[in-house]
Symmetry: D2
Subunit: 481 residues, 4 copies
Amino acid sequence: MGIINGKDFIERLNKLENEIWLEGEKINGKISAHPAFKGILQSKASLYDLQHDPTLKEVMTYFLPDKKELIGTSYLQPKTKEELRKRRRMTEQWARVTHGMMGRSPDYMNTAVMSLASSASLLKDRENCFPENITSLYERAIKQDLSFTHTFIAPQVNRSQLYLGFSKEPISARIIDRNQEGIIIKGALLLATQGGLTDEILVISSPRVLFNSDEAFSFSIPSNTKGLKFICRQSFVGGESPFNHPLSSRYEEMDSIVVFDSVLVPWDRVFLHDNVEAAVDLKNQSSFHTFAYHQVVTRQIVKTEFILGLTELLIETINVSEYQHIQEKFSEIIIGLETMKALIEKSEYDAEIDQFGLMCPSMVPLQVASNIFPKIYPRFCEIIQLIGASGMVSLPTEKDFNSDIRADLDRYLQGVNQNGEERVKIFRLAWDLTMSAFGTRQTQYERYFFGDPIRLSSSLYNNYPKDRYVKEISTFLDLNN
Amino acid sequence: MGIINGKDFIERLNKLENEIWLEGEKINGKISAHPAFKGILQSKASLYDLQHDPTLKEVMTYFLPDKKELIGTSYLQPKTKEELRKRRRMTEQWARVTHGMMGRSPDYMNTAVMSLASSASLLKDRENCFPENITSLYERAIKQDLSFTHTFIAPQVNRSQLYLGFSKEPISARIIDRNQEGIIIKGALLLATQGGLTDEILVISSPRVLFNSDEAFSFSIPSNTKGLKFICRQSFVGGESPFNHPLSSRYEEMDSIVVFDSVLVPWDRVFLHDNVEAAVDLKNQSSFHTFAYHQVVTRQIVKTEFILGLTELLIETINVSEYQHIQEKFSEIIIGLETMKALIEKSEYDAEIDQFGLMCPSMVPLQVASNIFPKIYPRFCEIIQLIGASGMVSLPTEKDFNSDIRADLDRYLQGVNQNGEERVKIFRLAWDLTMSAFGTRQTQYERYFFGDPIRLSSSLYNNYPKDRYVKEISTFLDLNN
Amino acid sequence: MGIINGKDFIERLNKLENEIWLEGEKINGKISAHPAFKGILQSKASLYDLQHDPTLKEVMTYFLPDKKELIGTSYLQPKTKEELRKRRRMTEQWARVTHGMMGRSPDYMNTAVMSLASSASLLKDRENCFPENITSLYERAIKQDLSFTHTFIAPQVNRSQLYLGFSKEPISARIIDRNQEGIIIKGALLLATQGGLTDEILVISSPRVLFNSDEAFSFSIPSNTKGLKFICRQSFVGGESPFNHPLSSRYEEMDSIVVFDSVLVPWDRVFLHDNVEAAVDLKNQSSFHTFAYHQVVTRQIVKTEFILGLTELLIETINVSEYQHIQEKFSEIIIGLETMKALIEKSEYDAEIDQFGLMCPSMVPLQVASNIFPKIYPRFCEIIQLIGASGMVSLPTEKDFNSDIRADLDRYLQGVNQNGEERVKIFRLAWDLTMSAFGTRQTQYERYFFGDPIRLSSSLYNNYPKDRYVKEISTFLDLNN
Amino acid sequence: MGIINGKDFIERLNKLENEIWLEGEKINGKISAHPAFKGILQSKASLYDLQHDPTLKEVMTYFLPDKKELIGTSYLQPKTKEELRKRRRMTEQWARVTHGMMGRSPDYMNTAVMSLASSASLLKDRENCFPENITSLYERAIKQDLSFTHTFIAPQVNRSQLYLGFSKEPISARIIDRNQEGIIIKGALLLATQGGLTDEILVISSPRVLFNSDEAFSFSIPSNTKGLKFICRQSFVGGESPFNHPLSSRYEEMDSIVVFDSVLVPWDRVFLHDNVEAAVDLKNQSSFHTFAYHQVVTRQIVKTEFILGLTELLIETINVSEYQHIQEKFSEIIIGLETMKALIEKSEYDAEIDQFGLMCPSMVPLQVASNIFPKIYPRFCEIIQLIGASGMVSLPTEKDFNSDIRADLDRYLQGVNQNGEERVKIFRLAWDLTMSAFGTRQTQYERYFFGDPIRLSSSLYNNYPKDRYVKEISTFLDLNN
């Protein structure tokens, strides 16, 4: 089989009839027709269609040796720097179609599956571990061009360091039984973006301090597995009109709580269970993080380009380019964009073959980027608000422009080179990006994409090779040690 | 007559049948029943009711000499520091009911009318000026407890300093004719908060560089004057449920563009016309700004108290008070609150009788507060987002809690001392304050309440008495000048 | 006796012959003639002389009931708000003479002695406590107008939280023996500003985590007590020329390590020993901190005024007042100054009679100021550097202006209204304040005056009354608790 | 001839007997023996010696075709990316020896001469232009391994935009006569770092608004040319002891005002005169800036590595690595370092052959770095101060450790793994880098190295290619233009 197209994706998904709850109701009927989901699913379908665009074939697909089916590049296990760059170009391509707004685009999850599969040997010959099930997941995913989401965050009832989290009934998902057919999971995990909107869900438990062995598991199961529930937050689709809601009508991904109501995970789906050490190794030693970071930073660069273009368009619309403080604010965006670009390129230039035989990007520049972006993205949104000023609030709608007062609006809301309608379009986009419920969720999403910013900087400090530089000072000062 | 109650307010407003456009349609029927307006009007009505609360009489009302009617304290022309503080206590009272979310609460506009009236003598014996019409407005307002909005900002087609803004047809509102009955105004003004939701609209043109005499005018007219149109932006009421939208269901004020379609302003309503100098003086020399700042800063303090309480409640809910970076963020809010409090109190302690005989707060501390708040308010919203983290996105709705999945939610979304429903209530409030379309508009509103922040700091620099300090240095250095 | 003058102060100090080490040598001869100390001692002497200025008598002095001697106002135990304000005016007066550069001006330490004495009852009837010795210190200080320094910081060998600090020989000063004559102290304490330059040294041990009872003591002894050594850091006096070093030639206070080489503290000097709880109470419950903060914040306000004047003079000298970014930077200084002023005034307006019968300023505003100043002071120095730009480095000296090249300098270094010499004077002052070794030490001093900034904000968070505000939210949301 | 060694450099310089004024006196005798200059000259000599180190030959030198003399790599005109990287390695090598503290190391100026020479064709066939004199300068510089400084900044009497700067006698250097022998220059230019400490001085006038043709000139002349005076600022050498002043005793470069007292510049030294347009082109279109930025950013990276090492050593010395705020501060340094590295590498990877045939680094990443470093360098210094805290002030000297109190110091100032002497060494280095007069001048130097930060961001905004991104938004929104 190999690559699917948008229609394939939608049809397969509709057939699954996953259990999704929204506003107190279980979704019935075709998920692709539901107002809260049809925009995002259509956008996602268009990504799959892109794989069939003959002009993009070179970038978007590849062949496996001795096979005839085209495979999506996101599944490619890179062996050379050229293949690594091809992966980046593929991600750029998909990210551009969605302006970097889709966090869980197919390449993100495919990258996860690809890199986990490459690291499967980490689980070899260990207790309660089944590396072959990771490998077969990868093969199945390639063959069927499967879509995934994943989840791994425990509900945060109590974030105190001293909290032990004992409770009789599981809150965070746990293994409550193991039987002939598989393991039984009960409890919840947070936040599955696009939960219920994919073929399968990949679950990788995330070891932390005070972690029990019944919390150590990893598997992938179909989204319609019995007992699996996706409880959606409120939808941030502002409405169907792309004029009014240029972004949320297309890219609202939805996040959901994943409830495991005594879900049976068959043995052939289990990667590991009841083995804390293996869970830790899979998380920390696999190449998952590195490749995921490579995909994410690429998407964020595309998003920053979008922001840069929009900001300049705002500036031109109200003609404020002469102001030094406007120039300074804009230059922050340039600096952010160029810095991110330089870092991802450095990660590729410094790439090396890792222990699993993959050409793996250098982690430090990606880690640096992951410390930078959560800080600059909210600042960019603020800059747009500061430049747009009161214009960010003057927001008539499509209906206004189709009514008797259109002439007033075109006159009184005109920009330097735009009539009112065009000016409002531009400002509505700025608003949807930075001030709508969709936009502020995007901000929060980017802020926490890589995890708690405080821990990100601690981890950067702890992992960074500092000794060489300390030694230089010791030598200069002629110290004994 | 004197003070009205909420019912009076609503009934009078419904009768006006102001021309209000929303989403391409002219509002018909009772404005107080319209989904976009009923929340705010009910909140406003509750403020008028408060004037009749016997326990608050002392604070909320006063008597005019030789009159029996109670008058709202916001109309009080203070002659002593005690009266000035009484004004503050009145504003605090009203602001607390609406948690500082209502920018154009009645006291704001009443303060405007009161202070303009006290400064009416500025227009005495000047060309095209009618100070007596300001005085009679004040008397009428007191007698009928009128509600107002105001508008004074020209549409910002082009913000370049070099832009002259010539166009045949007026964009910014201008006097296009003067006849026996009055002056005729054509064009638009931005952004009237609560435009169309008040008895009258006060219009004070705002002189700027390259200002024509036909733009220099000032008057107050009924909101239902012929030719007057209020074009609303999109409504930010998220819905009627206070569970889902605790703030926007109650306090969404609406902003509108005010279109003057050849509106006749009768002579007895005109304060001044075709006199740039007088317009400048009324703006800069009246006590309007000082008293308005005094009201605004008071409201902002109450809002900051609300933020402080909510932030601590968030901290307790997820039990993160032990973290030093959380403490540091919270201390920023304390510092902001205490600074604002100290500044407003200083403005009162340093108050002096002004040229019009009023006990006028000291302007410098208020100006300093007006430079501070637009910067700290967005930061406070950011702090809430940083503390709430992923919890800001896990947002089920009231319907979810009334459905079969309630048990799941109560279990998996519980806080340290709260069940899921209470926890979600708290986080939804945090979200509505900082991330909903209502909340982000509040942020933008506070950011620009006092005008362009760049100009605020320039004006502070230019007006501040620096000489004494420079002289001290010259003396120390024994300089010649 | 009562108030002394500058000559008295110098003569008494010279007689003490304290053991002071500087650059590996023990100071011999008159300390007041030593190049490293004569500037600061002369400045300090001028403060004492000010007490005799007839025009300032009202501010600088007071009478004790039934006594004829004038007493310095810094010893005044305020019973009314008027007396509290008198204290502030006194501090302003002294701070102005030294432009806020002298951290340990006499009023700072006199305030310490005054407030400790007022709180002596805290030690009443407790083990190893001698409150009467505090009282007699206060009386002796008043009568002789004694000068003091103090010290209480343990050497920071290891700042890890887990460090226990055991070592056979004391590092941090401890009681190593108690005998008939008194207690014997061995070890060191950091950093005594003006150590050795005062009549006495007040020692108050500072309880911390893992604190032993032999570290719990408090006393005051003459600076020339046997075994007491003051080891100075490098002197930051840049030279004697006030042209070259307008500040360091006058206000370099010196900091020293205080070494107790088995120092005998006679019983009549001991306030407490071997009583951890009493030491904690004396530190936390006495009014020492409140009155000290009141003095310090007042001094910092005067210093900020100095900075404001200098900054404006720089701006005028190179004529950059038209630039918006300059105005914005300057407005930061205004905001800082006015905020500090508002806070100290609020602390006085909200003052209340404390448990010891003194009119005690409100602590919260002072605590807020103590969180603000350590952040804004370094920023003000940075602003001066940013405005002065390359001019901060073009620094010829007095000798240059007395040489053949003077004409070149006057020509090529002239300012808008100044010849080269005057311009250089102004820039040298800016340099001495922000870039000389003296200036950077001042920055570090203000940054840490109140202690570790991280702990300052934690303490603000922990002590602030938050409940009322949390309750307001709970009520609004109709929560159960 | 080709490369010289340190001894050659010193001897040649001593022979010149340049006219240098310091503290009102003209330097007599060997400049290399003068306390204010001997440290920097020795450091510089060591750089020349490095060219002869056989292990570094490959990096530090190259051969011209058909020539036998080794040439310093800083003169290399790169034709390939490999040669460009060789240039970087050479700069790294020299910068490491001086820890990035020497701004005007020989490679900086050699790079200037090299790149100007490559761009000489810009002046071909233009009025008053002599490109052949640039070429011959380059050849002479290579042959003799000449040392240079340069100067181009007009004295900033008045920085107002409206200031015309007329004055009868020149303040900023101008051509006051042209005769058979050459042009005559009178006036001053600021600030020549190492002015008088080099063989020649390169003068390139810097066009600005309101620029007269008599200010448009460019040339290089020997430092001992008649009428040329170097007036030094105060020296920031703290003393000769490397223990006390590890940096200033070695790397204090000195800045001086260059006075042209009717200096005759012979025709064969003139590159251009009285041609504003040519002066503008030479400044803006030559590859000078690009190559200079490449050198500077490389040096700044080495300096940042030094800072990173020192900061970690401080952290270890007082054992504070466990604190999250310490880790966060340190991670800022990592982020800065890695960002700068990524940018310079990107500038090399994206390098292209320019119009003059050189492999020229890409300007945008270098421009971005030049916007970043002036902001992060002062922040790094602040971080060091914040980590060092009170330890930055406890600064005994070498003499203290050679005296009777050494035992006290070793005991009471010890670090976790260091005795007092070693700990003091480390803190003195931190102090010399960030708080001494030498250190603060370094901060100011880096802040303004690339010019006014405000203009740097304006220039980045204006030159950045934004159109492509704007067009993307226009397409997305389906706008007409």
